[in-house]
C-alpha cells in the first residue's frame, strides 16, 4: 500500500544522510564565509582520511556482526615501532611496515576470536590494553617522532590533492571493489545476515572472519600511518579511544552493529560528515565548550533519521496478502 505521499517520504528518507550533509554544508556556508572554498573541502577530506580509512576496516568487521575495539591501540603500536626503529625508511616502506604490523595485530585478534571462539568485544578490549601497554613500553611513554620521509608524505600531495586523500580514495575504491565485486565481499553480507546459513551454504565462514579481522588491523595500521604523517609525532595519547569515532562514522554511514547491513561508502561519508562539522565550528570561531554539544546533536539526528528510515522501509515493504482495489501491485514499486 503505497500512496504518493508515502513514496515521497520514502524518497526523502532514502537520501536522508545526504540531505543532512547538505543541510550542514549550507548552514556553515551561510555562517562562515570561507567554508565553501575548495581548499577548505580539501582540508576536511585530508583530516578525515585517517578515521575514514580505519572506518573502512571497521565496517567489514561490523558487517560480520563483530567489533574491533583495539584499532586505536593498533595505530599506536604501528606508529611507535615505525617512529622508534625505522625512522629513516622512505614513506612507501614505512607505510608498508605499519600496515604489516597492523595486519599482525589483527591476526592476533583473529586468532583468539576464530581459534578460541571468544567474543570479539572481550578479545579486542584485552588487546587494546596489551597493545597500548606494549607501545608505551617501547616508547618509554615518550613522544615518538615521525621520520622526515613520513613527514614529507603528510605535507605533500599529487595534483594538488594531499597524499592522505589519495590514500583514502584508493582504499575506498579498493574496498568498494572488494565489497561489491569479490566473493569475499558478498560472503561478508551473507555471514552477517545468517552465520549458520552461510556455513550450510558452504561459505568458509571461519576463513572469512579471520581475514576480516586481519584486514581491519591492516587498515588500522594504514590509518595510523596517515595520522602519524599528519600529526608528526605520537604521544601516549596517540589513537586513544579512536574506536569510538571510527564506529560512530560507520554507524552514521548506515552500517548496522548487528551485521549484514551497510557498506564502506557510507562509513567514509560518516567520517567526512563528522569532520565537516568540526571544521565548520572552527571556521566559525565558535565557543569551544559548544563543540561536543553540537557534534553529538548532529550524530543524534543522523542516527534518528536512519532508524526511522529503517522502520518505515520495513513497514512499507511488509508482505501484502490482498490486492486492494485502487492500489498498484507490489511488483511495480519493488523493482
Amino acid at each position: 500500500m503505497q500512496t504518493s505521499s508515502t513514496r515521497a517520504s520514502l524518497a526523502v528518507l532514502r537520501s536522508a544522510p545526504a540531505l543532512l550533509f547538505v543541510a550542514v554544508v549550507v548552514l556553515f556556508a551561510i555562517l562562515a564565509p570561507r567554508f565553501l572554498e575548495v581548499q577548505n573541502f580539501a582540508n576536511i577530506l585530508t583530516q578525515s582520511a585517517n578515521v575514514a580509512i580505519v572506518a573502512v576496516g571497521m565496517t567489514f568487521v561490523l558487517l560480520l556482526a563483530g567489533v574491533d575495539l583495539s584499532v586505536g591501540a593498533a595505530m599506536y603500536v604501528c606508529a611507535a615501532v615505525a617512529g622508534l626503529y625505522f625512522k629513516d625508511l622512505p614513506a612507501p616502506a614505512a607505510m608498508a611496515l605499519m600496515t604489516a604490523i597492523g595486519a599482525l595485530f589483527g591476526a592476533i585478534n583473529a586468532l583468539f576470536i576464530v581459534g578460541l571462539g571468544i567474543a570479539a568485544f572481550i578479545v579486542t578490549l584485552a588487546t587494546l590494553f596489551v597493545g597500548r601497554g606494549l607501545a608505551l613500553h617501547l616508547s618509554q611513554t615518550k613522544m615518538v617522532f615521525a621520520g622526515d620521509p613520513v613527514l614529507a608524505f603528510g605535507q605533500g600531495g599529487f595534483l594538488g590533492i594531499s597524499y592522505a586523500v589519495w590514500t583514502m580514495a584508493i582504499v575506498l575504491l579498493l574496498a568498494l571493489w572488494v565489497q561489491q565485486w569479490t566473493p569475499y565481499g558478498r560472503y561478508l553480507y551473507a555471514i552477517g545476515a545468517d552465520r549458520e546459513g552461510a556455513r550450510k551454504a558452504g561459505i568458509p565462514v571461519r576463513r572469512v572472519v579471520f581475514a576480516t579481522y586481519v584486514l581491519c588491523g591492516t587498515l588500522a595500521g594504514l590509518g595510523g600511518f596517515v595520522s602519524f604523517s599528519q600529526v608528526a609525532a605520537a604521544s601516549s595519547g596517540f589513537g586513544l579511544q579512536k574506536e569510538f569515532p571510527v564506529i560512530a562514522a560507520a554507524v552514521l554511514g548506515g552500517t548496522s552493529l548487528f551485521g549484514g547491513r551497510g557498506g564502506v561508502l557510507g562509513s567514509v561519508f560518516g567520517a567526512i560528515l563528522i569532520q565537516t562539522v568540526q571544521n565548520g565550528l572552527v571556521l566559525l570561531n565558535a565557543n569551544p565548550y559548544l563543540y561536543p554539544l553540537v557534534i553529538s546533536a548532529i550524530i543524534f539526528i543522523a542516527v534518528l533519521l536512519d532508524s526511522q528510515r529503517t522502520r518505515i522501509l520495513a513497514r512499507l515493504t511488509r508482505r501484502q496478502i490482498r490486492i486492494e482495489p485502487g492500489v498498484e501491485a507490489r511488483r511495480s514499486t519493488a523493482t
Partner: protein, 520 residues
C-alpha cells in the same frame, strides 16, 4: 562436465536406475530410527515420499544428502555406488535439495544467491566476480523457473513463493539431475503452487528425477509416479500413484484409521455463550471484513493456504499487528485497545506458529517458561515479590498435566527438549492461565504422531472445560479431526464455512484455493 554427462547418459541407457536405495538403516545411540528403506527413482519420474513426522523421512533424506552416514545399506546413482561424505559431495553427484526452510540471504540479490557457491570469474587469478555472466546465468535460471524478475533484485523484496522458486533455480544451477523437494508448498499461494507443479512436470520432461516430500497427499498423487510411505522408520508401502487414493495413503501412514489419532468429540452440543466475537476486522492489504464467532466449548478451525491471511488473522486478534477497523470481544466484552497484554487480560491465549521464535525462552528451564505468561496476571506491582512457591507449584502442575518429558524442570533448558515437548511447554504456559479463548496456530507442526495425539486430546479437554478454541492449520486432516466447525480463508477473507459432521476435505481445499477476483 559434458563428457561426464555423456557417460552418464550411456550408462543410463544400460538400464541402471537414476537412484537406487537399498536397505538403508540408521541408529542413533542404539535406537534404530530407520529400519531398511529401499526404493528406486528413474530418470524423468517423480517419487513421492510421505510419512508422519518422525517416520524417518528426514533421516532418509539426510543420508541421501550426505549429512548422515547410514548404519547399513547402499545407494547407487546410475548403477555406480554412491556414498556421499557431506552435502558438497551430494551436490557434486547431482543431487539438489529444496528445503522447507529456505536458505537464501535476504541482503543479497537474486543473482548473488544463485551464484553463491561458485561465483563466476573472468580472470582466474583475480577474485573478481564476473557480474555480467552472473547476471546472465541468473536470468537464464529465472527463465527456467518462469520467474519474471530482475536478477539484481534483493531477495528481501520477494514474496515467499518467489523465494521458493529462486531456491529451485539455485538447485537447477548446479546441473542437478535429482531434485528433492521437502514440503515445497507450505509457504506458497495457490497460484504459486500451480506454477511450481508446472515446473516439476517440466523437470520431469527434461529427464530429471524428482523426489517430492509433502503432507498434501493430493499434490503427491497428482505429481508423482510412485509413492513411498514410511512409518516408524519402516517402509510400509511403495506403489504406483495411479493405484492408490488419499485414504489409502493416510491409513498406511498412520497404521490405523484416522479417527484414532483424534479424541472423540463430546456428545454435548457446544454451549450457547459466545466466547470470541469478531466483527468486521479489516486491515488493508492483509485481511478484509472478518466476522465470526467461537462459542464456549467449541473448537473452530481456520483452513487456508499459506498467505491466505490465517496466521495474520491470529496476530491481529491477539493485538500483535494493527487493524484499521473492526472489533474483537471476549465473553461479550470488547477489547478496546488490543495489545497482547489487553488480550490476555480479557482471557485470550495465543500459541504462535513459530514456537522457537515467538514462544520460548530457549536457554531457560521449563518452569521459567511456563510461568512467563502468568506474570502479567499477578495483580501486584512489578517490583513486588513473586509468590514463587505458588508459581512453581502451579507451573509444575501444568507441566505434569501436559506430560512434559524433561529430567529437570528447573535447570534443563527447553532448547534441549524435543519439538513435541517444547510445544507442550508453550501449551502449559497458556493452560496455566485458564484462557477463555485459545488461539492455536499450527499446534502440531514438526511434532511426532504420539505428541500430536496428546495435544489434540488436551485441546479437546480444554474445550470441554468451556474454552473457545480457534485452531489454525495447514493440515486439513487435523482440522477435520478436531474441529467442530471449519472456516476457510483465502486472500484475507473468509470464503467458506463448514460444520461437523459436514466437514468435507475436498470442499475445504477447493474453497481455500479459489482465486481472488480481479487479481492480475
Amino acid at each position: 562436465m559434458s563428457s561426464a554427462r555423456d557417460s552418464a547418459a550411456s550408462e543410463r541407457a544400460g538400464g541402471a536406475p537414476l537412484l537406487k536405495v537399498e536397505g538403508l538403516r540408521k541408529s542413533f545411540f542404539g535406537v534404530e530410527v530407520l529400519k531398511g528403506v529401499s526404493f528406486t527413482l528413474e530418470a524423468g519420474k517423480a517419487l513421492g515420499v510421505i510419512g508422519e513426522n518422525g517416520s524417518g523421512k528426514s533421516t532418509t533424506m539426510n543420508i541421501i544428502n550426505g549429512l548422515l552416514p547410514p548404519s547399513a545399506g547402499t545407494m547407487a546413482i546410475d548403477g555406480r555406488p554412491y556414498a556421499p561424505a557431506n552435502s558438497k559431495e551430494a551436490a557434486r553427484a547431482g543431487i539438489a535439495f529444496i528445503h522447507q526452510e529456505l536458505n537464501l540471504f535476504e541482503n543479497l540479490s537474486i543473482a548473488e544467491n544463485l551464484a553463491l557457491q561458485a561465483f563466476p570469474r573472468r580472470i582466474s587469478w583475480l577474485p573478481q566476480i564476473d557480474k555480467a555472466r552472473m547476471r546472465a546465468r541468473a536470468a537464464d535460471l529465472l527463465r527456467r523457473v518462469d520467474l519474471d524478475l530482475s536478477p539484481d533484485m534483493l531477495v528481501n523484496r520477494l514474496a515467499p513463493g518467489e523465494r521458493q522458486l529462486v531456491e529451485i533455480a539455485k538447485a537447477l544451477s548446479g546441473d542437478a539431475r535429482i531434485i528433492v523437494f521437502d514440503e515445497p508448498t507450505t509457504s506458497l499461494t495457490s497460484r504459486e503452487a500451480e506454477r511450481l507443479f508446472a515446473l516439476v512436470a517440466q523437470l520431469k520432461a527434461r529427464g530429471l528425477g524428482v523426489i517430492y516430500i509433502s503432507h498434501i497427499l493430493e499434490d503427491v498423487l497428482r505429481l508423482c509416479d510412485d509413492v513411498v510411505t514410511l512409518r516408524d522408520g519402516t517402509m510400509v508401502d511403495n506403489r504406483p500413484a495411479a493405484s492408490v487414493t488419499t485414504g489409502h495413503l493416510i491409513e498406511s501412514m498412520l497404521g490405523r484409521p484416522i479417527a484414532e489419532l483424534f479424541p472423540p468429540r463430546s456428545a454435548a452440543a457446544p454451549r450457547q455463550e459466545v466466547a470470541l466475537d469478531v466483527r468486521g476486522l479489516t486491515q488493508p492489504g492483509i485481511v478484509h471484513d472478518l466476522t465470526f464467532r467461537v462459542m464456549r466449548g467449541e473448537i473452530v478451525g481456520i483452513a487456508g493456504l499459506m498467505g491466505s491471511g490465517r496466521s495474520e488473522t491470529a496476530r491481529i486478534l491477539f493485538g500483535l499487528d494493527p487493524a484499521l477497523s473492526g472489533t474483537v470481544a471476549v465473553n461479550g466484552t470488547v477489547i478496546a485497545q488490543r495489545s497482547p497484554r489487553a488480550c490476555m487480560a480479557a482471557g485470550m491465549a495465543f500459541l504462535t506458529e513459530d514456537r522457537r521464535g515467538d514462544g520460548l525462552l530457549l536457554p531457560e528451564g521449563v518452569l521459567t517458561n511456563v510461568e512467563l505468561a502468568r506474570l502479567a496476571d499477578l495483580r501486584t506491582n512489578a517490583a513486588a515479590p513473586l509468590p514463587q512457591a505458588m508459581l512453581d507449584r502451579d507451573a509444575s502442575e501444568a507441566a505434569r498435566s501436559v506430560r512434559i518429558k524433561a529430567h529437570d524442570l528447573v535447570r534443563q533448558p527447553v532448547l534441549s527438549l524435543s519439538g513435541g515437548n517444547q510445544q507442550k511447554v508453550v501449551l502449559a504456559k497458556w493452560l496455566l492461565r485458564e484462557p477463555a479463548v485459545f488461539i492455536l496456530d499450527e499446534p502440531t507442526r514438526g511434532i511426532d504422531v504420539g505428541a500430536k495425539a496428546e495435544i489434540y486430546g488436551l485441546v479437546r479437554q480444554l474445550a470441554e472445560r468451556g474454552t473457545g478454541v480457534l485452531v489454525i492449520s495447514s493440515e486439513v486432516e487435523e482440522l477435520l479431526g478436531v474441529c467442530d466447525r471449519v472456516l476457510t480463508m483465502a486472500h484475507g477473507e473468509i470464503v467458506a464455512e463448514f460444520t461437523w459432521p459436514e466437514l468435507d476435505r475436498a470442499a475445504i481445499l477447493r474453497a481455500a484455493m479459489q482465486r481472488q477476483e480481479g487479481a492480475a
